[in-house]
């Protein structure tokens, strides 16, 4: 059979070359169907060939690759950067394994590596294998395992703990999980736990495995791993150290280690990736200029730009993923602080925290605590009534304050709600006038929602007395500013008598920002795309004067129209066609009139600094492809 091996070495390497050729084409043109077909065929044939030799991991990864390619072919979609990267890694690895086979066989750990690659292929997210968590804490399964009645008294004797979750389909493959358990060396105790509640006997499927097995062994981790070597995907193993904070070690893939990185280096990396994104768009401008001279050169430039874009977006993606940390450490103190505050103020509070395990960019996790703590203090101090007042108002003596955190798409949503007295717009108007924050007649023109937002004005406080808890000057304006620094928005939903809900929306990732460029009064500005609801153009005649202001109809809704140039102290637009950008950042829809709508770009927005720091309405700056500086407007501030 040596002859077959020789044949394979030749043919296998040819197929690798063929696959790489196709991948090269796909790097430039992800939608090239001929390249996808050719890659599929090479992968398919290669899979068939490796199956004949002692290289099961190669078959596993090639199967995963083939499955993804079938999906790509069927959907007619293109290969995204993550998939492309995973495919390149797969083909490279198979190439190395072919070399290894020639040299005598696959190295130890090939199976683990194969699993890892297959996972990367099946879920694009897994391309970058992330450290599990920052804190050196037991994983959830180990916490559960330690608490099991069958096991907790035996922990002292054990060196290794494991959880074996057999595939529900495993009986059909001839597996008997119990015989594997029986073969675990120095087994001390096991617990058999249903994966969900036990079904009734009438509905149970006797041939489907519905349990996990938690167990303890006196043997070392390697010996226990060896017993489960055939089911690496269904097992987690951890050594039981002397302390509860012994570093966890899941049975994972040989070479993988968790690398601790100074967060400053990570910030720097993120910044550089952002700069790369900006630099990339420079090529686009170049290509446009080259078009006038040599269109084939322009074509090549565009292709190069696309390739860099793929790589740079994959890079940004990976960095974002690495930067995402759990909010749990940030928020861990909240419940305790809520209890302490309530006690000092003589209030009866039930505080609930949901979603603290949500992951968000490190910067957000770091900066979110302060504004949330402000909101919590406000809720307990001003929002919630005393037990006596609550009973008088027909409410339960115990007030509820809840902080709820969730991910919606690429936004992190934090909601702080209380069932207290709510924010009375009339009182807010009066307070703002009294403090000379607003003219009395201007206050009357504000809608209730706008009036409630007055609490975000510097120096505003609704409580009659200055309390030690909220203090003076640390008002809601600080909250607003902190949220806006994180490129977030905050809304108030409040019903007098029933309670208040602050709704904060933040980006989960904070590296680049999607901007829309607009021209107004001869200058180009950037507007954050997530603050824009829509853009539209209407006849200028359709804008009518109402009192002091202008309004227009957009899809049966009457919107106030404000001229961006005028807001910035310049003459307004006069063209026949009005170009409008609709925003809802202030809680109400407003149409901003601009001279021209530009393009959508990904840009890194720097916080305003230096001279600009004192200019209101400037949210930050971004350096454009051609080197010019784009002023990014802060719509909430501009319209406030």
């Amino acid at each position: 059979m040596d002859e077959l091996l020789e044949q394979f070495l030749l043919e296998g390497r040819d197929l690798i070359v063929e696959a790489h050729r196709a991948l090269d084409v796909l790097a430039l043109n992800p939608g090239d169907t001929a390249a996808v077909d050719s890659l599929f065929r090479a992968t398919h044939t290669l899979k068939g060939s490796v199956a004949l030799f002692d290289m099961a991991p190669a078959e596993t990864v090639l199967h995963a690759a083939e499955t993804r390619l079938v999906g790509v072919r069927r959907s007619g979609m293109s290969t995204d950067p993550e998939l492309h990267a995973a495919l390149v890694a797969t083909i490279d690895q198979v190439d190395r394994w072919i070399d290894a086979l020639e040299a005598g066989g696959l190295p130890d750990g090939a199976a683990g590596l194969g699993e890892q690659l297959s996972q990367a292929l099946s879920s694009a997210e897994a391309v970058v294998h992330l450290p599990k968590r920052e804190e050196e804490e037991d994983p959830a399964w180990l916490v559960q395992l330690r608490a099991r009645a069958m096991l907790r008294n035996r922990l002292a004797d054990a060196t290794t703990a494991f959880r074996y979750t057999p595939d529900s389909d495993c009986f059909f493959r001839g597996d008997d999980p119990l015989s594997l358990i029986a073969a675990v060396p120095e087994l001390i105790a096991v617990a058999i736990v249903p994966n969900t509640d036990w079904p009734s006997l009438e509905t149970i499927d006797p041939f489907r495995c519905i349990v996990s097995i938690d167990g303890l062994s006196g043997a070392g981790i390697e010996a226990v791993q060896a017993a489960f070597r055939l089911v690496p995907d269904q097992i987690v193993i951890a050594p039981l150290g002397s302390s509860a904070h012994a570093p966890q070690r899941l049975m994972d893939f040989g070479a993988e280690t968790t690398l601790r990185v100074d967060s400053n280096s990570l910030d720097r990396l993120a910044r550089q990736a952002g700069e790369l994104t900006v630099a990339r768009s420079g090529l686009k401008t170049l290509a446009a200029r080259a078009d006038a001279i040599d269109s084939s050169l322009a074509q090549d430039l565009r292709r190069a730009e696309a390739a860099i874009e793929q790589a740079s977006s994959a890079l940004s993606h990976s960095i974002s993923a690495i930067r995402r940390v759990s909010l749990a450490p940030t928020l861990r103190r909240m419940p305790r602080l809520a209890r302490e505050l309530a006690e000092s103020l003589g209030k009866d509070i039930g505080f609930s925290l949901v979603g603290d395990s949500v992951r968000a960019d490190k910067q957000i996790a770091d900066m979110l605590f302060e504004p949330l703590l402000h909101l919590l203090r406000n809720a307990i101090d001003h929002g919630v009534e005393t037990p006596e007042a609550r009973i008088a108002a027909g409410k339960s003596a115990k007030a509820q304050v809840a902080l709820q955190i969730a991910i919606e798409g690429d936004r992190l949503i934090a909601t702080m709600s209380d069932d207290g007295r709510g924010i009375d717009p009339t009182l807010v108007r009066a307070g703002a006038v009294e403090k000379a924050l607003i003219e009395a007649d201007a206050a009357l023109t504000l809608s209730d929602v706008q009036a409630q937002r007055l609490i975000f004005l510097p120096g505003f406080s609704t409580a009659a007395e200055v309390s030690t808890v909220s203090g003076r000057g640390v008002g809601m304006d600080a909250v607003l500013r902190a949220i806006e620094r994180l490129q977030g928005t905050i809304d108030i939903h409040s019903e007098p008598g029933a309670g208040t809900r602050f709704h904060i929306s933040l980006p989960v990732n904070a590296i680049t920002t999607r901007l829309l460029t607009v021209v107004s009064g001869g200058t180009t500005y950037g507007l954050r795309l997530d603050q824009i609801v829509e853009t539209t153009r209407i006849d200028a005649d359709a804008i009518t004067m109402v009192g002091q202001g202008q309004v227009c109809m957009i899809r049966d809704r009457v919107l106030p129209v404000m001229d961006l140039a005028q807001l910035l102290g310049q003459p307004g637009e006069t063209s026949d066609i009005a170009r409008l950008v609709v925003t809802e950042v202030t809680g109400e829809s407003v149409a901003l009139r601009v001279r021209a709508l530009g393009e959508r770009i990904d840009a890194m927005v720097r916080a305003r600094s230096g001279l600009l720091a004192s200019v209101p309405a400037v949210g930050g700056t971004s350096v454009l492809a051609d080197g010019s500086v784009l002023i990014v407007l802060d719509l909430p501030e501009l319209l406030a």
Binding site: R148, M150, P177, A191, I192, V193, P194, W198, F207, C209
Partner: protein, 81 residues
């Protein structure tokens, strides 16, 4: 046949392979409340064991086999479930 009913007790004996899970399930359903005698059992497939854990019938006689008696039996009937 290693699953049988004798005097209202489900007898589980010898090596019980996967296909006997279905027989055990039918036996458990048709004889609600009856005990199981595991004294002669030497090896149980996971499919058989998980049925015992789900049904938790009274154990009339414990297995003599050390693994089944000391490891499996407590695991099937412990409180974590």
């Amino acid at each position: 046949m290693s699953i049988a009913i004798r005097d209202g007790v489900i007898m589980i004996a010898g090596h019980c392979p996967v296909e006997e899970a279905e027989m055990l399930l039918v036996a458990l359903l048709e004889n609600p409340g009856s005990g199981v005698d595991l004294s002669a059992a030497t090896r149980l497939h996971m499919a058989v064991a998980q049925l015992l854990a789900a049904a938790k019938p009274p154990v009339v006689a414990a297995p003599r086999d050390a693994f089944l008696r000391d490891m499996l039996l407590p695991a099937l009937f412990h409180l974590d479930q």
